[in-house]
Symmetry: D2
Subunit: 339 residues, 4 copies
């Protein structure tokens, strides 16, 4: 069984990241982030996003999302989020458990929330009998492989802020989004008004570690306490930090996202030649969601493993490309499919 296209986290670690880990492995440094590597990594984030941010490193995306939300929310509040967002359906209730809050799952056309989706849920504001919406959480690129434009993000942020809500962005594939939008990370997050970002890096080639980046300077002051309270503080922090420094400074995130997106387009160009394959969405980043005739899917499922994915079109096949995907991998797949 091959896991080549099952998920972008089936890939290993970028070689440049491995080297950064080795370079960080010398001498004694203070644990828990009071070290030079962490200082440097934070500076790298400030170069990317500006000086007026707060950044904290955590272990993983579920941790980043959950504790970021927990640091903002009171238990009587609620998060408005697309029905198939990661926090809504792929985190086994971690956000509910840690925040104590309700997640309001909104059906969407394509994984993307709109102001119209949010609006009806704000009617309860001010009524004590209902969880009070306080955060809108969106993912870019989305769990369904689609992409918010900066205008769309701005519209959501503006509307949220006008109504006293914050915007959280799950950036598990934020690099892929930036590449696809041909914008900088800052332009598609902070500049649009996003308040806090879960900055994903594992799918982009890191071994472990994600970052919570607060752009809204009213938030995040005490996140370090929440991080420890939420079990997400690493002792040998330098090994997350050193990865992040390389990831940003050496533009690994950019290279790798570009490669993954390109491979996906290459793959798409091949697949759309095949009769009977129905694409749920045009691929914009590094994943394709599609249906294929049973005789085709039976063939590929003999050799390849995939997760079932929920979309408006029901359960579909998801094919993900990553920084590690090679043209040969795609060609092999196509060969199996078409012969």
């Amino acid at each position: 069984m091959k896991y080549t296209f099952a998920s972008d986290n089936c890939a290993g670690v970028d070689e440049r990241i491995m080297k950064a880990l080795e370079r960080a492995n010398k001498d004694f440094v203070l644990s828990y982030g009071d070290d030079k590597y962490t200082e440097d990594a934070i500076l790298a984030f400030k170069r990317e996003f500006g000086q007026d941010i707060k950044v904290y490193f955590v272990y993983n995306g579920t941790g980043a999302n959950t504790i970021a939300l927990g640091s903002i929310l009171k238990p009587y509040q609620a998060v408005i989020t697309p029905a198939f967002s990661h926090i809504s359906v792929d985190e086994t209730g971690a956000p509910e458990k840690y925040t104590g809050c309700k997640l309001i799952a909104c059906p969407t056309e394509n994984g993307k929330l709109t102001v119209e989706d949010i609006k009806p849920h704000l009617e309860v504001i001010g009524t004590v009998h209902h969880s009070q919406p306080k955060v809108v959480s969106i993912t870019n690129s989305t769990e369904e492989g689609t992409l918010y434009t900066t205008d769309e993000i701005k519209e959501i942020c503006d509307f949220a802020h006008e109504n006293g809500l914050y915007v959280h962005m799950d950036g598990a594939r934020i690099g892929n989004a930036a590449v696809a939008l041909n914008k900088s990370l800052k332009e598609i997050t902070k500049d649009c008004g996003v308040d806090v970002l879960s900055f994903g890096a594992t799918k982009g080639g890191m071994m472990f570690g994600e970052a919570v980046v607060f752009f809204n300077t009213d938030l995040g002051e005490d996140f370090a306490y929440y991080r420890k309270n939420g079990t997400q503080l690493h002792s040998k922090m330098r090994f997350i930090s050193a990865q992040f420094k390389a990831y940003l400074d050496d533009k690994i995130y950019l290279d790798n996202a570009k490669h993954a997106n390109d491979m996906c387009q290459y793959f798409y160009s091949k697949l759309k030649e095949v009769d009977g394959i129905e694409f749920i969405y045009e691929p914009e980043v590094n994943g394709m969601f599609l249906k294929m005739p049973k005789e085709l899917s039976d063939k590929v499922l003999t050799k390849y493993f995939f997760y079932d994915m929920d979309t408006k079109a029901g359960k579909v096949l998801r094919l993900m490309c990553s920084f590690a995907t090679q043209k040969e991998d795609i060609d092999d797949f196509m060969k199996l499919l078409t012969t």
Copy 2:
């Protein structure tokens, strides 16, 4: 400022572990632990502890302790633990937050809980107005550098079990304890009746990752769900697993614990020659807790950083040795102290 003796997690990563990480970095494997590396690591644990265990990998010690307890406890129950245990004073309330339970912090003579300490807290069992003790949590070696013998652990386990309680062991330094007791890991845990172990490995030379090991087969069945719900599931799991396999199979834990303990004894042999230094406890594993005259401490604090540590004797200086401590490090320290 030097961090040489501040904590055993100020050291980096064992070179053999680095190599294991590199070896694991090839090809695509399924994420979240459905991979060959994880399978192998679990087998390594079973060779060490026997077939009838359940083992799960998590990110860190606070996560291991917190989610292990959470998977056992209902919110009206309580944990009996020494007053200065890590779960009690060094996890920023993570156990209370996740489990919802009360931690009953018992003052101890030397960081070690006794049956006599536990007994009075069991009087409330059966009365609905009081949190119901359900777990005894002890750490070996303790946060104060002391050591439970196997007889002492057995006595606690027997008493706990007779009274319907489970025993959780925080094994952040379980290797150091095994070496000091000259026993196998199994002999000082499972064979004594411990129900669940937080198996620490970061302080022993790993980069990240700890294990939760259930010896009581009634427990842990659904821990995989708790792990995700508690934000402690790693996507690229192979990189925790590969470390663990090497850590156990190559006896890295043993080498490194022995080295750390030996360095501590060497250090102790030097320090006890110095006038005015008062040892709170005889060092048994890899740390010393001591008071020194102000003129001495002033000298070392100019070059070395230490955490203040709570003990029955109040705040004291803690000096920790690790797998990375060299005799030269100790000699340098002694030179500063004595000249």
Copy 3:
């Protein structure tokens, strides 16, 4: 402003209940439920539902629902419930906060869940990335004024049990349901396979107090601890118990539910004569959900207060009858409306 039809909890307390409270107010009895009144009230429940139940008194419906669910669920599990159920939208996140669980809110045609609604949510069972459905929670009569038949309840219970789920029933208006179905309380709950019932009584004429009744004898053993942990244990318990004894033994619940349902039918017979009023559902119990032309609603809203209610038809006007509603109240309302 009149609150006559705003909600059935705008009424006061049944006179027979007031007398029961007075009768209970003598001498000293043990607090927290170890008293004769509580013993008697429990016997009254056993006469109603059979000997093999566990019953606990709490303060209110949100408490009953929340702690009942909390006593059954682990935080990685989930509750499947209609989108507009009370636990889903009217408890300000109390269930999420206490249980830590996800609530899966299913859109329904008429406030009533079906097996077809439940089915797709069970596909995730066994996959660690998703909250695991463990309870189906339905309300009878529903928050939208509709009614499950016993066949419908049985079908849900059978399906839930076949799939390893429990069924919780929110019985805030269980008396109204029993009357409308012309069945006993037992026939519409326990006999259908319901595992645990939140037995509402405040809307039926009590001053305060609801009951959690476990029909599934595997559950509820330690509910007394959950009740205290969830802040729902009353010290002067006799004053809840004495109400319940009268409520059941004197069939107050039956009288009052019948009266409320009858008043609703009377009201309906008048309203359906009025041009332009659109009933969302045919009234089956004690409430009507309707839309009326603006010139009509403007008239009644000058004198009467109503809550906006969510239904499949959007926000509608809800008119509730209670044990205290008099024909004159309805006639007054009709006069205002039609002149």
Copy 4:
């Protein structure tokens, strides 16, 4: 078995309260506190404590304490409280469960916390590894029957505020304290600097209902949401409010506290004549904590029930007087004891 002296909540309801309940039982009013009775009760609180307060009614003392703390605290924070305080040992972990916070239980001489007890726990402030003390919670009169003077309360409040902490007072027997100190309720709470009070009334003669009173106007703004989220919002609120209005306006709390305290002094005057009875503390309010020779206690335990109480002197006998205690009750007890 008689429950006369077991607890002050073994008494029933003051007759004047019963009448107030009856008076409130007419017509329809809005539920959840938007009613005239609640408005009036709030005004009564403002007459007692001044205009600049926020007051919310809840069901019980555990609810008042738990949700009041929950509305102030973040989960990484901690509460400093005496070891035998109600929140620490008599609420089955409700505060930990709802707040997620650690309770730091301080041993005391006599149930009363001092600045010296608090001080050492503040050393961790600013260190992310430790729960951050944010609230000091004291009870007046204490669970051990002792009494803080206003100077003592002021000293604690001043010290807490200087260090950025709030002071919560559990006032389960606040009336008894006021009477014993010969001060107004305001003088012993708000005027001393208390930030938030759990105002107990059940022990003073109410049927159910307690109040959370915020004196610190920075706090409590969103308590109404916390109250619902914490399952403590009563639907037929008028029946709590009407009790409270009578309780304050008719000075029931004062009469009843004075009576209870006087009965206790009368009882004490009799008991101290008996050879061999050792009083742990001089009774200052309405309870006595004592040891008596086994032959004496054996006699009274045949007819009277008591809870075992924890004090610095170990388990002792507690005798409580209440508003309902009559001299004859005491004389009967003395007769049994002395013949």
